[in-house]
């Protein structure tokens, strides 16, 4: 299970990854031109997450990592989420 025996990511996969990232970037810009308001926020963040997932899976090889590594990769996100939810809990209900 060493990295020597790891099936290596093919070059073509990398190129394909790059292309899809640029497509998503184009999408971001296009969506921003067309949409405004709350929906635009959601769209922009969704596309960003998609890009991040692609980079993570293909460039950073999360695809082939152990589940433990994946767990730690997501732990940071989960903790930000906790922080945001509980803090917002204060801001949303202030002055009620």
């Amino acid at each position: 299970m060493t990295h020597m025996t790891h099936a290596k990511t093919k070059n073509s996969t990398l190129v394909f990854t790059l292309i899809s990232l640029f497509v998503l970037l184009g999408l971001t810009v296009a969506a921003n031109k067309m949409e405004h308001g709350a929906l635009a926020t959601v769209i922009a963040l969704l596309i960003a997450s998609a890009k991040a997932v692609i980079v993570g899976l293909f460039f950073m090889d999360l695809r082939k990592s152990t589940s433990l590594t994946r767990l730690f990769a997501t732990a940071g996100l989960l903790w930000i989420f906790i922080m945001l939810v509980l803090t917002m809990c204060d801001y949303v209900s202030r002055g009620m």
């Binding site: 906790i82 803090t87 809990c89 204060d90 009620m96």
Partner: protein
């Protein structure tokens, strides 16, 4: 000295261990051996403890009288800030993990070293630089904000040496992060054959939980301090309400780290106590799985309760309630530990040596401190006692009565392993008793003071509080002596006490299978594990057992 050891001793071939295998200066300045790094931490941190208690002595002396006779208000403010910052960031947070954790974690799981020895060394020097920077702020007159650095006072109004202090803590934070990463990776990848998770010593479990907090909490503190520094240096409004900011946001960010940080301070102590109780009851720990998982539960739940420091800050009432109920729930895993420790004692075969005394002291004092934590988590009561001496008493009960006791317990328990020498048992018992009584005399009166309404961070108080304050100061002197004694006899033991042998306590952990002090790569034969932890049932119960030395 046991008969057994005497017969072995006569012609020992000079065995090389991690201390004497290389005496070159470089090998001590840049060691990669976790044990040496641990010893360097031990020395540094013990020094920082005494440094941090100097202001405590002055605080107690000042509070002997109702008026500010000894020092001015301004100096008093710098004293308690210095005391709090040093004790929290430079003593208690790194204390047990970086010393005993560093030395013992690889040995307990049967590894030759931590996963990243260079990172470990880096963590030490990063810590040292941080500590020195914080001391530099002393040279520039100290900081007068309290260890919590609340804005807008700290950023706009205080003109004390904030910058070196903030960067000192910021830098020391990276030391915590490095240690956390190192421990997590080591525990995950370097356990020896047979060392399943369900066989890990409880101390290792607690270090794992602590490391989770290190890596998930510390970065937030770091970034918060950076924002604070930016606001302070450039006068831009990040938290300053006059510039559109919200000071409560700072408090949220600060406590998001600093509440979990209190579990950084106590979890390793709990791990130590689990070890001590099992060893000196000569009995398998009760409810191993519950004790182990409750550490992780505390680490995770601990991130959900920070708002209990902000009940009267202007935070929304509803948010307060969420934080309050979660605070009550986080107490349950702690309660489970207390429950299991006492049940371990039941039907044990107790060996009342110094380490066990400290462990028992821990149980009692931590319970009091923890229960008063519930008083504070109870919102209606906290409105009254917030920022009074009740809070001061609460956290000293846990941090001094709990964590500090565990630190001393660990010191006595593993001293033979680390140095190869015993400590004088009589003196050990004497100072443990002194510490226990001195401690209660110092801090119990403060609960009363707090409920009577004596606020914290003041150099002056109303005359009718004096009696209790005098008691407290008297207690502190006894406590001080209790802390000085070990400093003396540990040094003394290095030369004058008998050699300990590999396993003076007849304990089961892997660390005891190696000679004392251990060789450079920890074990002469790399161990494998083929039984449950704390298997004292198979170590014959009524063996002549532990020898007086």
């Amino acid at each position: 000295m046991s008969e057994l050891q005497k017969t072995i001793e006569p012609s020992p071939p000079r065995r090389l261990n991690y201390i004497n295998h290389d005496w070159s200066v470089a090998s001590w300045l840049w060691p990669k051996d976790h044990k040496r790094i641990g010893v360097m931490y031990l020395v540094t941190i013990t020094f920082l403890f005494f440094l941090g208690s100097m202001p405590a002595i002055l605080i107690r002396l000042e509070l002997l009288t109702p008026k500010a006779h000894l020092v001015t208000h301004d100096i008093y403010n710098r004293l308690f800030t210095m005391h709090g910052v040093t004790m929290v960031f430079f003593f208690l947070i790194p204390s047990i993990p970086t010393t005993f954790g560093n030395i013992l974690l690889p040995m307990m799981i049967g590894a030759r070293d931590l996963a990243f020895p260079k990172l470990n060394l880096a963590s030490y020097y990063v810590f040292l630089i941080g500590a020195i920077l914080a001391m530099v702020s002393l040279v520039y007159g100290g900081v007068d904000t309290g260890w919590t650095f609340y804005t807008p006072y700290s950023t706009t109004f205080s003109n004390s040496a904030m910058t070196p202090m903030i960067f000192g803590i910021f830098i020391a934070g990276f030391s915590s992060i490095f240690t956390g990463i190192n421990f997590i990776v080591t525990i995950h990848t370097m356990r020896c054959p047979g060392m399943y998770w369900s066989r890990l010593p409880l101390f290792v479990w607690s270090l794992y939980a602590t490391s989770l907090i290190f890596i998930l909490g510390t970065p937030v503190l770091a970034i918060t301090l950076l924002l604070l520094a930016a606001e302070h240096a450039f006068g831009v409004g990040i938290f300053n309400p006059a510039l559109g900011g919200d000071p409560l946001l700072y408090q949220h960010l600060f406590w998001f780290y600093s509440h979990p940080a209190v579990y950084i301070m106590i979890l390793p102590g709990m791990g130590v106590v689990s070890e001590l109780i099992a060893t000196f009851s000569r009995k398998r720990i009760f409810g191993y799985h519950f004790v182990a998982y409750s550490s992780v539960a505390i680490a995770i739940l601990g991130f959900l309760v920070w708002g209990h420091h902000m009940f009267v800050s202007g935070q929304s009432m509803y948010a307060g309630m969420v934080f309050s109920v979660l605070s009550f729930l986080v107490a349950v895993p702690s309660a489970i530990k207390v429950f299991n420790w006492t049940l371990t004692l039941y039907k044990g075969s107790l060996v009342l040596k110094t380490p066990l005394l400290y462990a028992l002291g821990f149980i009692g004092l931590f319970t009091i401190g923890g229960l008063t934590g519930l008083f504070l988590a109870a919102m209606g009561v906290d409105v009254h006692v917030h920022d009074t001496y009740f809070v001061i008493a609460h956290f000293h009960y846990i941090m001094v009565g709990g964590a500090m006791m565990a630190y001393l317990g660990a010191m006595h328990y593993w001293w033979p392993k680390i140095t190869g020498r015993m400590y004088p048992e009589g003196w050990g018992v004497f100072s443990a008793v002194l510490v226990f009584f001195g401690f209660n005399l110092t801090f119990f009166p403060q609960f009363v003071l707090g409920y009577m309404g004596m606020v914290r961070r003041v150099a002056e108080y109303d005359a009718h509080f004096q009696v209790l304050n005098v008691l407290s100061t008297a207690g502190a002197s006894i406590l001080g002596v209790g802390y000085l004694l070990p400093l003396g006899y540990f040094f003394w033991s290095l030369r004058w006490e008998p050699k300990a042998g590999p396993n003076p306590w007849n304990a089961t952990g892997l660390e005891w299978q190696s000679p004392s002090p251990p060789p450079e790569l920890n074990f002469e034969v790399m161990p494998t594990v083929n039984g449950p932890p704390y298997d004292y049932d198979t170590v014959a119960l009524h063996e002549e057992g532990i020898k007086h030395v």
